[in-house]
Amino acid sequence: MAKTKDKIKYGLLRLIDLSGFKIFDPPVRLIFGEDPQKQIRDIAKFMVLPIIFLTICIWIWHVVAPTHKTKSGAVPTPKKVLVAYSENSRYGEREQEKVKDFELTGELRIARIAEVEVKLVELEKEAAEKQEVSAKASKEGAAIIQSQIAPLKIQLSQLKGEVKIAKQERKTALETLAAKVAAKEESADAILTLVKQQALTTAAEKERKKTLEAQIKGIRDDPPESIKAAQLAANKVEDEIQHYKKRLDILNGNKEVRKAALLAKVSEAKAELAATADPEVVLAKSKAVLTNSKNADGIEAQKFAPNATIAWQTKRSLATVFVGFFIAAAVAIPLGIMCGLNRIVMACLTPIISIFRPVSPVVWLLIFQIIVGAFFLPDPAKHPLFVTLNSTYWFGWIKNPIAFLNTNPAMIFSACTVAMCALWPALVNTALGVSAIDKDHLNVARVLKLGFWSRLFKIIIPSALPLVFAGLRISLGVGWMVLIAAEALSSSDGLGKFVWDEYQNGSSQSFANIFLACFIVGIIGFFLDRIMIILQKLVSFDDGSATA
């Protein structure tokens, strides 16, 4: 009993160690009752304090963000980013619902239509309520605004009156002085001073007027939160209604319906074909039968094309980064091994590595767009590569698992850019790992008289593997970072494009979306790195984790 408990404990601890989440070590030990005082101290130090720190950071964000106004509204607060997350996931759900609705058949479709209709009635009721609330809120809000503005307006009109009078007075003063100067009773300097003085007063008056006006405008433009919230709630329901209406449209004209319509046309045409005696009609109807039945078959392969959701963009980014990463690994590892084995190869490749490594991904992207783009001319959509990658079925019966990615040339360019930038760390590290092999290990190979290939695979590669994986880890990190930029620039669908589109969009909601994307990119990057750390630990033999 105690033994199995220990086994579970050490298994868990080993897992924690392997995955690098060291902070979970004390709680696990605490659960198994090992030196509770020390564990609690460790938890306080390494879990509670960091959590408090993060909370403080988020709080500062929460406080500081709204104070900075930008052209696309205030900087989003943590709450707004969370709202953006939930809205994006609802958006994703909607697209999924539409895709499913398009495929529904028979009884299920009828039942779904009924469901949607019921929901629509409910929603319309809710919308009316929300609308009312919103109208009330905006009325109240307007009253509040009015009450806030009213004193300012009075001030403003007072100011205007005062200014008018002051202006008149100044004018007369100036005119009298001018007359005196003309009569040589006063010096010319006096009038110059007066003009200067008066210009200053005028400016000051204008300034006061401007500030007041700005205050009024500020209050008008920034309605109370209650109005905004009520309006948002109303809009949300309105959105939902739009969605359900759209669903109804899709359900009433989905795959099954379309196919049935076409088949009806076919049978109608067939019937007419059988009935007619006119050769021209025969010709026309037989054509109609053929095209319609062909179209009916074609519908089977049709799919509802959903809008780009953030989940889909994420998947596409991941697919692109892995394509690029594997290209990089496939090139870098063999080249690195050759470099490490042979000083001449190393000397040949060193200039290339040194010159191309510092080149910016942006430059690579442009170069690939031109060079690789040439292969896909004249019509990329008809290029066999994309036709294959995007067809629903391969060889007519294997369901294509990557059809949903909608591969296009931009994705290939981004992948190539990722590969180009991710190549170098893997290459350099592999070369280093191979050339730094322990002489003792080579001596073993010499004593055993291993041939070239067994020396390579039994001695050199295993001993270089930890460094190779260290290189691959850096490569994947670099690749992920480069990818987002490449996607933004090449508008290849993915998180980078998502950010770019939101930036172009420029509303306050899209600002929150950019923050959301920032977190998604960061979290995915973190997990990619973790995966590579685990792989690296699995192949390294110097620490205890190699056997795990």
Binding site: H441, N443, V447, L448, L465, D542, A546
Partner: protein, 308 residues
């Protein structure tokens, strides 16, 4: 002192180092490690080489197994110049040279599989088990080298060398990291293999007792640089030699004192030479530290404070 004569038999020996020099580094800054080495080992002979640390014993071994090319002279086995290492010259490295990503069993399997490609899987497994059992590592066969103690690694390395079934066993301090008990057991194992399967063995050791117990002939290596082999001491004691009663054996006592005093003499000589080369000034370095109040203060504080 009756010094034994060096073996100068002109007839071809089985393993022969023929007037060999070994130097390292560029001509301008050359270290002569071994100079004018001459050693003939007969077939099935057991030769022990003893010498001080850094004298060049391991270099001598590399020479014998073909890992190190002589700067001058020739190394021959069976009349043929040794051009490259091979499994016939079974070298056990001083630093074990186990492959760290393979377990003990896998390390041995790699060796056995390469040297005996025709064996079936079962035979290979049996062979591995046999040698692992011999060095008493059966319980640790699935461990990686970094999970083993120094002595266990040494035994694993010995097992791997023995598993090659080499014609010549070249053992570089094979038992140095072991406790006395394990050590004497393994000494017996090596002697067993040597006697039963008739091998030629060259063993390096820094333990005179071990050398006398095991070897037919003991060859001292003089101090480096430019170390060379001194005249050999033949061990004329009947086998099997029992290490329990060995201490009382008059021949053992004689050899031990003789070799020990010879080695001590080498050491003294070497020290005398190094003294001549670098005369150390017999002056104490001046105290450059500035006079500070701190030490005195400390002294004062450390005085009994009862007066205060």
């Amino acid at each position: 002192m009756a010094r034994p004569r060096r073996n100068t038999n002109p007839a071809m020996s089985y393993l022969e180092i023929d007037h060999v020099d070994v130097s390292f580094g560029p001509i301008s800054d050359r270290t002569h490690v071994l100079s004018d080495i001459h050693l003939s080992v007969e077939e099935n002979e057991f030769v022990a080489v003893i010498g001080f640390s850094g004298a060049g014993k391991s270099t001598l071994m590399s020479l014998l197994c073909g890992l190190q090319k002589p700067t001058k002279g020739e190394v021959r086995m069976d009349g043929n110049i040794i051009k490259e290492p091979g499994p016939d010259l079974g070298m056990m490295f001083q630093n074990y040279s186990l492959l760290p990503w393979l377990t003990v069993n896998e390390n041995i399997r790699l060796a056995v599989k390469t040297v005996f490609p025709k064996l079936s899987k079962k035979e290979i497994t049996e062979k591995i088990a046999h040698y692992v059992e011999m060095v008493k590592l059966s319980h640790a066969g699935d461990k990686l080298p970094h999970e083993l103690s120094g002595g266990m690694r040494q035994r694993a390395s010995l097992a791997r060398t023995l598993s090659l079934d080499p014609k010549v066993l070249l053992l570089d301090e094979p038992l140095s990291a072991l406790d006395a008990l394990t050590r004497s057991e393994l000494q017996e194992q090596i002697l067993n293999i040597w006697e039963k399967e008739k091998r030629t063995v060259v063993m390096i050791t820094n333990d005179v007792d071990e050398a006398v117990l095991m070897a037919d002939r003991i060859v001292p290596l003089t101090m480096g640089p430019s170390a060379t082999l001194a005249d050999a001491y033949p061990v004329n004691m009947a086998r099997p030699r029992d290490h329990h009663t060995l201490n009382d054996h008059p021949e053992f006592k004689r050899l031990k004192t003789e070799i020990t005093s010879y080695m001590m003499g080498l050491n003294k000589e070497a020290r005398a030479i190094s003294k001549d080369v670098v005369p150390m000034p017999n002056v104490r370095p001046k105290d450059f530290s500035p006079p500070t109040a701190a030490p005195r203060l400390k002294n004062k504080v450390s005085q009994p404070t009862s007066a205060a």
